[in-house]
């Protein structure tokens, strides 16, 4: 068993990358592998609560966040400096890390895959 970090950086509505990264995370978890998520760059937008994508834009990946607990995916990390000031509009299950802990994160897993 290896522990895996899935790093989402792509916008959920500009390509399939974010979706296919989450699919990999769900499968790893289904197979009882230890997997954590972290978000940066355009992928941070999946945290926004009030999104309503059209079918043309893509699937609403925000909805999956509340389902992660059923997959035993417990950690969704972000860097604290990327937190938006108005936290009421953002999904509350995230763990924010200071910049030292954030860059440390990437060397504390046996494998890191970015999407």
């Amino acid at each position: 068993m290896k522990n895996t970090l899935i790093h989402l950086t792509s916008s959920p509505y500009s390509s399939l990358a974010c979706k296919e990264g989450l699919d990999l995370a769900l499968v790893l978890a289904t197979f009882e592998q230890k997997v954590d998520l972290c978000l940066s760059d355009a992928a941070l937008s999946i945290l926004t609560i009030s999104q309503q994508p059209t079918p043309e834009q893509g699937k609403n990946l925000h909805k999956l966040l509340d389902g992660l607990e059923f997959y035993d995916i417990e950690n969704v990390f972000i860097e604290s400096s990327s937190l938006i000031p108005d936290s009421a509009t953002q999904w509350s299950g995230i763990t924010s890390l200071d910049s030292a802990a954030w860059s440390e994160l990437f060397s504390s897993y046996q494998q890191v895959f970015r999407f």
Partner: protein
């Protein structure tokens, strides 16, 4: 100790499939069983599209992978979900979707991401090309 290769970059918009090919070739020449399998995910699954034809004066990347795979008995897996949505379809999926065609090239097989998890747990590590 065996390794797994994970290729995620598009054969057209990145060099992931090319670099992974050179890596696999060198690895297998040095030690014929050093790579247990190659798993293609995201746009990299397009490598298995039998209908894609490169110009005659350019590398035929798909064929190069097929040659390497048959020489060393190397399994080439395409993520089934990623492949089917991109039109890389084998006979049984073609039937499932009631299509008249299939497009998966020989030497490649469609498998779920669970196969990647199995490779991950039975090899020393995954080397990714993106």
């Amino acid at each position: 100790m065996q390794h797994t290769l994970l290729v995620t970059g598009s054969p057209y918009q990145s060099k992931a499939c090319h670099s992974a090919l050179c890596f696999a070739r060198a690895a297998l020449k040095a030690q014929p069983d050093s790579i247990k399998g190659v798993f293609f995910y995201e746009d990299a699954v397009l490598i298995g599209n039998d209908l894609a034809q490169p110009p005659r004066d350019e590398i035929n990347l798909k064929q190069a992978w097929q040659t390497l795979a048959s020489e060393f008995n190397l399994p080439l897996y395409l993520c089934i979900a990623a492949a089917v949505r991109r039109g890389v379809i084998n006979e049984s999926e073609s039937k499932r979707y009631e299509l008249n065609h299939h497009s998966l090239s020989h030497g490649f097989q469609l498998e779920g991401l669970g196969t990647l998890v199995e490779l991950m747990n039975s090899t020393q590590k995954i080397i990714q090309f993106r």
